[in-house]
Symmetry: C2
Subunit: 189 residues, 2 copies
């Protein structure tokens, strides 16, 4: 009897797809991690909603000394570019002036193990006149707070170079089924 | 009449404390951003729960070419060190071998604007024998998935050097009150 099980498994909070192929009585057991994630240069349809919804971007930038900085950001996505609001008086602005390479990820609030990482580079950082873009972000995120720093607001435009789609994990039923299968195999060996 | 309003305000997803001091009829209006966050070398009591609870770490590391990488991670906190599980076959492990500086943040799921950033450096990366630590993380996060990569599991121990506590935003009532105050001042000018 041949089992040929392909599954998406939760491995330390990041997910992997494993292919388990066995014969029983067990003459061979191959467990191969064939894919942990999917990297593309176009936004995969399966994860487009994570950029379209007003979720949070967890942004990594490089400080001038080369060490990493990690920040929570609002963002907007127009189908081609990611835009962040920031001010020209802050550390992240100086980081991005020195090194425009960024990476951020977005996590699905309904399934913490379904995430999208976006890698890219800053295309422009221009003044946000009258904080127009920032106000549009406020609207997108359902916020309504006085803007006290319109004079130093900038729009950071990021051109994505790669998308890394990470798929959600096994359901409880799938996990139990796989565990049972592996235990069965253990006994058979 | 003297207004002296100190408030915590939502500014582009990160928060700031602003001090608004005015006299009315308005002879002077000072709006000064006095504090955006609190940086300490010890974990602030106000944000300790974010490390104690099984939340997600949004980790920034440096790739060998100097560009940033952004990842979702499980973690454990013993009051002194942060521990992550990883495997010695993956990119992040190679990143951390080359440059042990990390930054990660944790976001309060009940208040997205209350976050803690932790900056630090890798103290050790040792084999996780029998995936003992990884299994304890599974337990902490309520997961139960077969461990297929125990032979390459490592424990990443991070020594924090700085904590950046970001406080949650204004409540709706506070926002409305501040907006009304600022409008009142606009009219008075």
């Amino acid at each position: 009897m041949l089992y040929d099980v392909q599954y998406i498994g939760n491995s330390r909070g990041i997910f992997c797809v494993a292919l388990v192929a066995v014969t029983k009585p067990v003459t061979s057991l191959r467990v191969q991690l064939v894919k942990e994630w999917l990297m593309t240069t176009e936004l995969p349809e399966s994860h487009a909603d994570l950029l379209e919804r007003p979720l949070f971007a967890h942004l990594a930038t490089i400080r001038p000394d080369g060490s990493p900085q990690s920040s929570v950001m609002w963002f907007d996505w127009d189908g081609r570019r990611v835009r962040f609001s920031h001010t020209s008086t802050r550390q992240k602005y100086r980081n991005l002036l020195a090194d425009g390479r960024v990476s951020f990820h977005v996590q699905d609030p309904e399934n913490a193990y379904r995430t999208l990482e976006v890698r890219g580079r800053v295309e422009s950082m221009d003044p946000d006149l009258d904080a127009t873009f920032y106000r549009s972000l406020q609207q997108r995120y359902g916020s309504n707070v006085p803007v006290l720093d319109a004079d130093v607001r900038v729009v950071i435009v990021v051109e994505p170079t790669n998308f890394v789609a990470v798929f959600g994990g096994l359901t409880k039923v799938e996990t139990d089924a796989l565990t049972a299968l592996l235990e069965q195999l253990d006994e058979g060996v």
